[in-house]
Symmetry: C2
Subunit: 332 residues, 2 copies
């Protein structure tokens, strides 16, 4: 092929917030395939907060991203060439092809998807890793009962919006926390949350108290820091907390918690989790989420950056909360 | 009866650390019994950190101690008079008779004990509430496997010493944290811990690192604050934390945690618990602990204050860590 591949590689590890010069755009030929391999043309690249952690050369739940190598990440796309027995030219797939136009795979990281049933981009969001993350946290950690109050922060994001909608279907009172009036409006009007607290309005503790008059039974934590602390103080006896992300601390700031006493007084169960540990539940979770999405019972928002060039700025914006819903880069 | 009862009542709620004037010693007659009641002569009064929480008029896991009423607490003693069908004069019992020489009961809070098998005082410690607390945290929350590292702070205390001995019997490497060289020596020499870190020596983080070369798989947390934070930073993947007490924060100081990221990165499970929630496990736990104690396989230390007059100062000393092992007041 004479087509040129364009790839973002990690040029430098960030000190604090990532900047544009942490990334370098390079060009290369599209690789030749060996037996058992496929060539994928990426349609959408997923940008996710966990990528910030991998940019550091520090112990985390995944090995760090290597310097000079293509930024890792999930994509959805189409098989362009195949020397693989299962994946055929034209198949739509979910892949881990990274920040580039074309990726090669031996098939082990691929999953066929059905864009006729659910739009391709959603297989990176509500019907992808973020959706499964929400499903696991709600169904396997928080296990909320009808009538209980569930709180989720980063509520307009891909994970948060799904958490809230799943909990509403279970009969919970669902309260979101999000940054800004516009996001809160979407959380209530489009995702059907009972209430949403704008943490940027400056009255987080009082506003959360008003939104949760019966306290909090289940907390899905994506943010950390002051938001986590405010929710901890409102927890009810035998409350559960799923710690899915601590985005407020990803750049190395301290995210100290003051309301630790609530753990003891309220006999809280706090469980940190990473969805890649739980491969066994993906088929069930994806099946249920795809059914809900296809039936119009699960909604989502997307922030779409156009073109491979836009990936670093879109990622930097994601970490600052500039996106509304799932952050994607459209490549085609 | 012409005998005089002496009782400590709560005279004032503490501001910060409790002081002697929070308590008032009063005298009264010994009460007449109605049908179904017994009169108990207390031999030992148990002093426990949880009592500090009840002195505040704040939401906690137990209702606050009422002003002007007898300080609540567990005791062991002997039935002096009985109009109850089950409890006979001369029976040794565990009771909730409080800070006084004589208590009355309708029997619902009583449990017969066998001082011929295990000394009476131990039924307030290793074979009492502290022992059951240790048993529950180890067996139902931490579930350590042979070869794993378990850390417990307040390691020379009634709970901590039992935690460590139970975990050693399960084949764990057991590391204590205690305040001062004398306590650490007892923890290693008498309770058989593999190592003990003196948090007062000024090198907590480095010393804990050295004592746990393979990290920490299970943490039994009694203290909170800097000790909890240091241990959190050393936790291994899929580690468990049982939060049993946060004594460093009982006087209202902030006990902020900085190493919150460990919850996510290491997928920790943190469970706060109060042993009174788990009445179902008491018979099994007490049975096992009594067997171990009677067989000489479970050891403990006691700090015994003499006479009812000594209770407030002994309690204040307990909160400052001046005791070594279970803090008791001998009344007879």
């Amino acid at each position: 092929m004479s087509v040129i591949n364009r790839q973002w590689v990690l040029a430098a590890r960030p000190r604090g917030e990532p900047t544009a010069d942490c990334f370098r755009l390079v060009e290369s030929g599209v690789p030749e395939l060996k037996d058992g391999e496929v060539l994928i043309r990426n349609h959408y690249l997923s940008l996710d907060p966990y990528m910030r952690g991998r940019m550091d050369d520090a112990k985390s739940y995944a090995p760090p991203q290597a310097l000079g190598e293509v930024m890792q990440g999930s994509t959805v796309g189409e098989i362009m060439q195949s020397r693989h027995p299962v994946f055929k030219v034209g198949d739509a797939v979910h892949a881990r092809a990274g920040w580039q136009l074309f990726g090669k795979s031996d098939g082990r990281d691929l999953r066929k998807i059905d864009p006729a049933r659910v739009p391709m981009s959603a297989w990176l969001g509500a019907v992808g890793m973020p959706g499964v993350t929400a499903w696991y946290g709600v169904n396997r950690i928080l296990e909320p009962k009808a009538g209980q109050t569930l709180v989720v922060d980063a509520a307009s994001g891909a994970v948060g919006a799904t958490v809230g909608q799943l909990a509403r279907m279970m009969g919970c009172r669902v309260v979101g926390i999000a940054g800004g009036a516009a996001k809160c409006r979407v959380v209530i009007d489009e995702f059907g949350f009972d209430d949403c607290v704008d943490y940027k309005a400056g009255n987080l503790v009082a506003d959360l108290g008003r939104a949760c008059p019966s306290g909090i039974d289940a907390l899905f934590e994506n943010v950390g820091g002051a938001v986590f602390d405010a929710a901890l103080a409102r927890m009810n006896t035998f409350g559960r907390v799923a710690v899915c992300g601590l985005i407020s601390g990803y750049n190395g700031e301290a995210i100290a918690l003051a309301n630790v006493r609530s753990i003891l007084v309220n006999r809280l169960r706090i469980q940190g989790f990473i969805i890649s540990d739980h491969a066994d539940i993906w088929p069930q979770a994806l099946g249920e989420l795809a059914d809900l999405a296809a039936a119009g019972k699960l909604r989502w928002r997307e922030s779409i950056a156009e073109g491979i060039e836009s990936a670093p700025q879109a990622f930097i914006g994601l970490l600052k909360g500039r996106n509304l819903g799932k952050q994607l880069v459209r490549l085609i």
